[in-house]
């Protein structure tokens, strides 16, 4: 670069230069190497740093946390924002369709059902994952015990308070031991953006199968495509073995 004190051939300065120029330092090279080094090594420590930062924000209000781009590695999606709201006094969870006895639970009745805990990984079809998510909720067997599915039932639909959103599982899929209707996440009631007060958790399938803000299960004799399946994703969303992955 031309940082020479000497003007070009034939050139004359309009005014004397008041700033004393040096010959230029290789700051650019240092910035380049530093940025590359930071970026490449962050493949190793980036996730740990995000986790650490995330933990350090745990004292902040949930609304603030969700606005921070390292919220425990989650990316929050909704098909029809704003997120549905939960009113504990009026909220109900309904089981209907091909059952002997349609039933409606209040939130407190749901919490009184036999509870299960699990720590499982969460995988999104868009490529991100969150490891070791701690859930607490109700297994579907316990949830359906009183309603008693009819022999003609082949599967179930999980309806969301978020209008339009529904997804499905066959009875066999719903019977997997780690499938649950969760109401706690990391030891706290499920936050609004994660599906408060209840959401489906299906660890062996991609996240779009886990209906958030779920408040209704309908037993059916024929499985239809859910919200994202109508839009092209696979109905059987096995992690690592579906959607072209």
């Amino acid at each position: 670069m031309s940082s020479s004190q000497e003007p070009g051939p034939g050139a004359a300065r309009e005014t004397p230069r008041e700033v004393t120029l040096d010959e230029g330092r290789p700051i650019g090279r240092r910035v380049f190497l530093g940025t590359v080094g930071l970026g490449i090594t962050s493949l190793l420590w980036g996730q740990a740093a995000i986790d650490l930062l995330s933990k350090s924000t745990s004292a902040l209000p949930q609304g603030v946390r969700s606005a921070i781009p390292f919220g425990q590695g989650w990316r929050i999606y909704a098909v029809n924002p704003p997120f549905p709201t939960f009113d504990r006094a009026s909220w109900t969870f309904t089981i209907e369709g091909l059952v002997e006895k349609p039933i409606t639970y209040t939130y407190d009745q749901l919490l009184a059902l036999p509870a299960a805990d699990q720590t499982t990984d969460f995988h999104c079809v868009t490529g991100w994952s969150v490891d070791d998510v701690v859930w607490k909720g109700v297994r579907l067997d316990d949830l359906l015990a009183e309603a008693k599915p009819l022999a003609s039932a082949k599967g179930m639909e999980f309806w969301s308070m978020e209008e339009e959103y529904v997804d499905t599982l066959t009875l066999d899929q719903a019977a997997m031991p780690d499938v649950m209707l969760a109401y706690e996440m990391y030891g706290q009631p499920i936050p609004r953006e994660h599906g408060a007060p209840t959401r489906m958790v299906i660890p062996k399938m991609y996240g779009y199968k886990g209906t958030k803000w779920c408040n209704r299960i309908k037993l059916v004799d024929r499985i239809e495509d859910g919200y994202w399946e109508v839009r092209g994703y696979d109905r059987d969303a096995w992690v690592g073995d579906s959607n072209g992955l």
Binding site: M1, E14, R17, G24, G39, S42, L44, Q47, A48, R231
Partner: protein, 258 residues
């Protein structure tokens, strides 16, 4: 400057650009290799950004139909392979000495560059062929490109090799892209600003009006930047380039089929 002087400069407008420069006269700023590099990098970046958004944003997946997402992923990978190949071809066929010369200019920041970066009010500080902002942008973009390629390769291996996982890869890829987009928006915004819009065609044509060079790059002595330092020799390079292009196509096909 290699072109002959064509007119007498207006009084009082004589700087590092030299007395030959006038308002009508144009001075050579970017070589063909530099313009090709900029074109390849810029267009590839925009294509990668577009397909990246299409992969990562559910609202976009919904718009084009999730059944096409594997195809979009393939397109993203093919563009990445062709991007690397095209950059290699520019390096192979281009004026490498001139590109090295330009890289050295980017790497070296003097007091006026730092003054330019430090304060908007200080942007009258005389600049050389590139101002402080252009240098910083080029440096950061180059670094981010390396990071995007590295994290992208990690993601691809993770996708194809079950059991292999780099937990931070997607975060690094996305954050690097976010920073890159931030810089590109600033770069394009400044390029389009009325103050310097005059120079915009120079990235396509290679020249800027001498008056512009004098007022915005008063510390630029264009005799330091010959149009060509080492003209490319075609024979051997054609062969190497063909091999590079072939390798790029093979890699692109392999990425989508493995």
């Amino acid at each position: 400057m290699s072109e002959p002087a064509s007119s007498t400069p207006p009084p009082g407008h004589v700087g590092a650009i030299g007395p030959r420069a006038s308002y009508q006269h144009r001075v050579h700023r970017f070589s063909g290799s530099e313009r090709a590099l900029h074109m390849v990098h810029g267009s590839s970046f925009l294509a990668m950004m577009a397909t990246g958004f299409m992969l990562g944003l559910p609202c976009m997946v919904k718009a084009y139909g999730a059944e096409h997402r594997p195809l979009v992923l393939d397109v993203h990978l093919v563009i990445a392979a062709l991007w690397a190949t095209a950059l290699s071809l520019v390096w192979i066929f281009g004026d490498r000495a001139r590109l090295r010369h330009t890289r050295e200019q980017f790497e070296s920041l003097d007091a006026d560059d730092l003054l330019w970066l430090r304060s908007k009010a200080a942007r009258q500080a005389p600049q050389a062929r590139f101002n402080g902002g252009q240098k910083l942008h080029a440096i950061v973009q180059a670094a981010l490109t390396v990071i995007l390629f590295a994290s992208g390769i990690a993601l691809w291996v993770e996708l194809k090799a079950s059991g292999f996982a780099v937990p931070g890869a997607l975060g690094v890829h996305d954050y690097a892209m976010a920073v890159a987009v931030f810089f590109v928006v600033g770069h394009v915004g400044m390029a389009l600003s009325p103050r310097i819009r005059t120079s915009l065609p120079s990235i396509l044509r290679g020249t800027v009006p001498a008056s512009y060079a004098r007022s915005h790059h008063a510390d630029w002595d264009e005799s330091d930047d010959p149009r060509e330092i080492r003209p490319p020799r075609t024979a051997g390079r054609l062969f190497v380039g063909a091999v590079a292009l072939g390798c790029g196509v093979v890699v692109a096909v392999a990425l989508t089929n493995v």
